[in-house]
Amino acid sequence: MSGRWSLIPSGSRKTHDPKFLRRYRPDRLCERIALFDFLIPLFTMFRTFSRCRLLGTLLSALASCLALPTLAAPPAFEDTIAQRTLACTACHGAQGRAAPDGYYPRIAGKPAGYLYNQLLHFREGRRSYRLMTHMVEPLSDSYLREMAEHFATLDLPYPAPSPVSATAQELQRGRQLALQGDATRQVPACVQCHGSALTGVQPGIPGLLGLPRDYLNSQMGAWRSGQRRAHTPDCMASIARRLSDGDVSAVSGWLASQSLPANPKSARALPAPLPLECGSAYAPSAAAATGGRP
């Protein structure tokens, strides 16, 4: 399973591959475009027969070249939680608005309980990304909670969704899974848990919009292979395992192509009970019982 999922479907870049990440340096994109790495988008095009992707890559590279000279001087030192968490925003983008490389997800405005749970998951091995684990390793529960609450309160605009290469049929299937689910596979609709607007539900359920397709795909792959886990009962792991490869690609394509609604904030509560039990949906503090730290 994990072998199959080590490749992101849809011919996109292997952005979860450490080798790729080592080589891929958004800050150097301008230099790279001029050099031999120009071949990478060409190769992508060759694989996917998608001109849109190449165009998108070139446009975003051009945009970042133009944006570079306008970068303001670094802000002065402030004794604040924002200053303390500059280590986070180095990868997750300024104020946690997502990294320009399309992989490190947005953390700004996600429900505090969800963010806190993820920090605990990384520290206790339920999620694995070496750099994240290293970051949170020496930190206390209360400090992680403070960090989670800081990013949860940030209310930043969302960029327009990036173009997605998917057929109309795929998008239709993705829409169906997101809004209606698939009773034959016992897959609930995304909206049943993640909120009718898919913007998440307080305190522990994340929104699904405004995330790169690569990120969504690799998370679904990690749920399926067991590399990403949550507190038991691990509802998302069971759902991800009921989906076919095509379903994952369809639903990630549809989600990634949706714009945020006028009110992008997460809902206060769900109108109906969850369709299945989720250990991480409600009480992040439950984690303290096992691996908690003062």
């Binding site: 450490p18 939680i81 206790e124 020496p138 400090y143």
Partner: protein, 443 residues
């Protein structure tokens, strides 16, 4: 007849045979010694049945905190003391054992068995233990403390998870290899601590903590190719294999020696992870976070007194390496201004928070920057990280990882810059150094 025909030949033959026979005999006995299964050593049984009262259990819990036993004997996110954490060594991965009172752990062990493991490095069934368990240190633990630790471990909820099998390469996975290692490097601790005299009682307590439970030399002693030190209790500093962090010398004031520090600062560093212009990071952050911040004031003071009186070692003469070229310096300055100056200051002066306490350490005049080994700098720049969040320093400032932004040669240029600026005088760092030090863990 033959003998008469070749008298000299026979004598010559006999002359050759004897040494060969002797050699074979010697080899045979060495082999027999290596291969002979070892029976559990006879240990002096506890005078009385080991106590299991609350006070003893509580003392055992504190001793386990002094020894930081839980960190190695707990898998990430796992049941405390149920073992299963992989400890990477140059010889393969050793998995820590389950210390809970279950059949998979110490369920069948007596207090004598436990003492045999701590004092002799031998398991209940007679097998020698891998020295990833620092029994060159635990051998210095007193029998009374061993019994209290045992009582505490017996009080834990049993967990039935067996430890995974070690993944060691041949020949390191053999008992014979351990016999050789022990013959070369293991020295049993004194049966009883040296008689205390009142004037240096505290220093003696400090020595006991540093040598025994604290197992400082497990990292701070230099290691040879067999993962050992000629003097296993040496504190002269050493590179921690695989992790590629350098545990600086505790005897050299130019590294991490604290002979010139005030007692209060030494205690503060171990209690909060921060003192003056110093922060603990890397593997030491784990030690402060899980162990020393929970030590009693008396024990911290005892350790500080001991460390403060360690004999000084000479600083090797400063490297006379040529100053970096103007081009290299320019490139380093550019990287520094872009990546580092915002937090560490334009002139490497560091920053303090509104409470006047250290936020970002200065790089100018910081002995952690000018260590001969650039290992720690490479790890910090590549992986970033936080100082430990402790009661005395609950909200540390973080350092971003640069592993995705900086190439080996960028890191080398940057480190060479900070090691030669603002009065710092240390050897330059090459891209090859960075490549070798980043290791497998830093990719």
């Amino acid at each position: 007849m033959n003998a008469r025909k070749h008298p000299t030949g026979r004598h010559a033959h006999q002359g050759r045979l004897l040494p060969v026979l002797a050699l074979l005999l010697l080899l045979g006995s060495v082999l027999a010694w290596l291969m002979w299964p070892t029976a559990p050593l006879a240990v002096k049984a506890s005078a009385t049945n080991p106590a299991t009262d609350t006070a003893t259990v509580e003392r055992g819990r504190y001793l386990a905190t002094l020894g930081n036993c839980q960190v190695c004997h707990t898998a990430r996110g796992g049941v405390p003391y149920a073992g299963g954490r992989g400890i990477a060594t140059p010889f393969g991965t050793v998995f820590s054992s389950n210390l809970t009172p279950s059949p998979a752990g110490l369920g069948a062990w007596s207090a004598d068995d436990f003492w045999r493991a701590l004092h002799h490095g031998q398991s209940r069934d007679g097998r020698w233990l891998y020295p990833a368990f620092p029994y060159n240190n635990t051998t210095h633990i007193t029998r009374t403390d061993s019994d209290a630790l045992y009582a505490y471990l017996r009080s834990l909820p049993p967990d039935a998870t067996p430890a995974p099998a070690h993944q060691l390469d041949w020949p390191y996975n053999t008992q014979a290899a351990l016999k050789v290692w022990r013959a070369l490097y293991f020295e049993e601790g004194a049966a009883a601590p040296a008689a205390a005299n009142d004037s240096n009682l505290e220093v003696q307590r400090g020595a006991y903590l540093v040598r025994g439970l604290g197992h400082c030399s497990a990292c701070h002693a230099p290691r040879n190719a067999l993962g050992a030190s000629s003097n296993m209790l040496d504190l002269a500093g050493g590179l921690i294999p695989v992790q590629n962090w350098y545990a600086p010398s505790l005897t050299n004031p130019a590294e991490a020696g604290v002979q010139d520090w005030t007692l209060d600062d030494i205690v503060a560093l171990f209690q909060s992870g921060r003192a003056g212009n110093a922060l603990v990071t890397g593997p030491m952050a784990e030690v402060v976070q899980h162990s020393t911040q929970h030590w009693s004031a008396a024990d911290l003071r005892a350790m500080a007194l001991y460390l403060k009186q360690l004999p000084r070692t000479e600083t090797p003469p400063a490297s006379t390496a040529a100053a970096p070229s103007a081009r290299l310096k320019g490139a380093g300055e550019q990287l520094y201004d872009k990546r580092c100056a915002q937090c560490h200051g334009e002139h490497g002066e560091g920053r303090r928070g509104t409470d006047g306490r250290l936020a970002y350490p200065p790089l100018a005049g910081n002995r952690a920057i000018t260590l001969a080994s650039p290992a720690n700098l490479v790890q910090i720049v590549l992986n970033g990280g936080f100082a430990p969040a402790t009661a005395g320093h609950p909200r540390p400032f973080g350092m971003p990882p640069f592993v995705l932004q900086l190439s080996d040669s960028d890191v080398a240029t940057l480190l060479t810059y900070i090691r030669t600026q603002w009065g710092n005088q240390a050897a330059p760092v090459s891209a090859l150094d960075v490549q070798q030090l980043r290791g497998t863990a830093a990719r």
